[in-house]
Symmetry: C2
């Protein structure tokens, strides 16, 4: 069963891990590239690497980002040498960025570079950048326009977001690999990631949403998973961002954002009372435990999403 | 008293440290760039950085290269990811290479980048790349043509060197900073570095030797310090390289290589019996303890070289 997951960082990575427990190489994860940046001359892909490290079983679960058993000698030295080091890069993480940066400067496509990194980490699923052309997310806030990581990391998401823009989007296209994966998918999963700045850029890549709608019309189910549980984001600023942009801060609010795309929506069991409201949007609903506290919980939710998706399929069985 | 030292790596760095104890910012070190290389997308300048770290008091004296209190997390991870890691870069060292690479890619001149690094490390003397144009040392050996660091690090200097070439030399010129430092110098010191592959490239930069000879003609003393003591190199392959290239492996053999350039030559006290032979080449000789085992020994030799140079000065006093 070919499955495509659209994913941002941590939430998308955990669900990818849970889906991979059932699918292995049948899973393709299309990741947001809008958060990508260059620091200290290194090309850094936060969402890709979060999914990569998580699928490799190397994610640090206490810190919540980056690699386990990480050290910080390089960034501490850069700080001693007078550099701004608010974006903390770990030593082992820097090895990833060095490999990537060298290959990109040699002229390889981002997707090729991503697949090479994934081979080196020995993971089964593929992680596909949403496009090879650069897209950069910027947020308009009450303290002015900020690059995404300035808002997210340097200012710890404290400014209020008034608008979001994805620079470079006009020139971006889904890669051949993304298009082929979506065309071959029996199920598309929209991860419990921030709908505005993680899933938003992916769906905004010209042509990508139409490709998904074409598959949906052909009977392929598209299942969203709510990143909002009991009115709060499990991680990150999705709840505050939804509020300041005028969306209801609830699983139903997220379902409404995706209503023209998804055919089913997974909400946490604690939000089961929102089921009728979301069904009123025309979506099928699954209420289940969505908190992925450990490997077993990740695999359990992954399995539940797959079962739900299979039940929604209306096209010819493959 | 303005002094210019021509230097390679460790020997040149130790003497630079000893000279700096007396001269502070009056010292300019012109370093060989022929050993420079790119590894893992990072621009690495071994000789510049050895001098830099030594002048900053951060050189590791047990290992004999790199920074003290170094760790190896990045290079170990690169190895796990399948990279060739025979050129071992330490984590703190990598911070230097990141800063440099970023600035060079932004279009800054190597000399500007070097001076910026030196400011960040807070050293008094200046370290000047011999040229801003790239020069790459290659050695013809009994196992074929090798890039310098392949010969020096990967193959641990075991191949026999039959010839040496400096690629890119035709297009190289002394930088404005090097030329100005030489023109302002009251004394030029040729460090106890490998005369073939450390000092050789510097003297081969078109125009540089003529500039030195012009100053010598104006009465500025040029003092060489022997890297060969009791017929052996203190460090590195200088002795084997001299032998395979047909030079006598002795302080006198090195003096003969420099005979048309230097006016005085410093040899170790254990080689005092070679004094008459070197004087026979037309050079003044100082025999003294040249083994720089600690800071005091570095400063002592630095002082002795300065005194010797002053005594040789024939031009008008400044």
């Amino acid at each position: 069963m070919g499955v495509v997951e659209l994913a941002g960082g941590v939430g998308g990575a955990k669900l990818a891990h849970g889906l991979a427990a059932h699918l292995g190489p049948e899973l393709s994860v299309v990741v947001n590239t809008g958060d990508d940046l260059e620091r200290h001359g290194l090309v850094v892909w936060p969402d890709h690497d979060t999914v990569l490290y998580t699928l490799a079983g190397l994610d640090d679960r206490e810190r919540g980002w980056g690699l386990r058993d990480e050290t910080w000698a390089v960034i501490d030295q850069l700080e001693r040498l007078g550099e701004e080091t608010w974006f903390r890069l770990g030593d082992r993480d820097i090895a990833t960025h060095l490999l990537r940066t060298e290959q990109l400067r040699a002229g390889r496509r981002p997707t090729e570079v991503a697949l090479d990194l994934q081979r080196r980490f020995g993971i089964g699923p593929r992680i596909l950048p949403m496009s090879d052309e650069p897209v950069r997310t910027v947020v308009e806030t009450d303290v002015g326009r900020l690059e995404f990581q300035e808002y997210f990391v340097r200012l710890r998401q404290t400014p209020t977001v008034r608008a979001v823009a994805f620079l470079g989007l006009e020139a971006a296209r889904p890669t051949g690999e993304v298009e082929a994966a979506i065309r071959a998918a029996d199920l598309v999963v929209v991860a419990p990631s921030n709908p505005i700045v993680s899933i938003g850029p992916i769906l905004a890549v010209p042509g990508l949403r139409d490709l998904l709608l074409e598959r949906r019309a052909a009977g392929v189910p598209i299942v969203g998973v709510s990143p909002i549980v009991a009115g709060r984001a499990l991680k990150g600023p999705a709840d505050r961002m939804l509020a300041s942009l005028g969306h209801p801060v609830s699983a139903a609010g997220v379902a409404a954002i995706y209503r023209d795309l998804v055919t089913g929506f997974v909400i946490d069991a604690v939000d089961a009372d929102l089921g009728p409201e979301i069904e009123g949007l025309g979506l099928r609903v699954l209420a289940t435990d969505t908190i992925m506290t450990d490997d077993a919980a990740r695999a359990r939710l992954g399995g539940a999403v797959l079962d739900f998706g299979r039940a929604l399929a209306t096209g010819p069985a493959r």
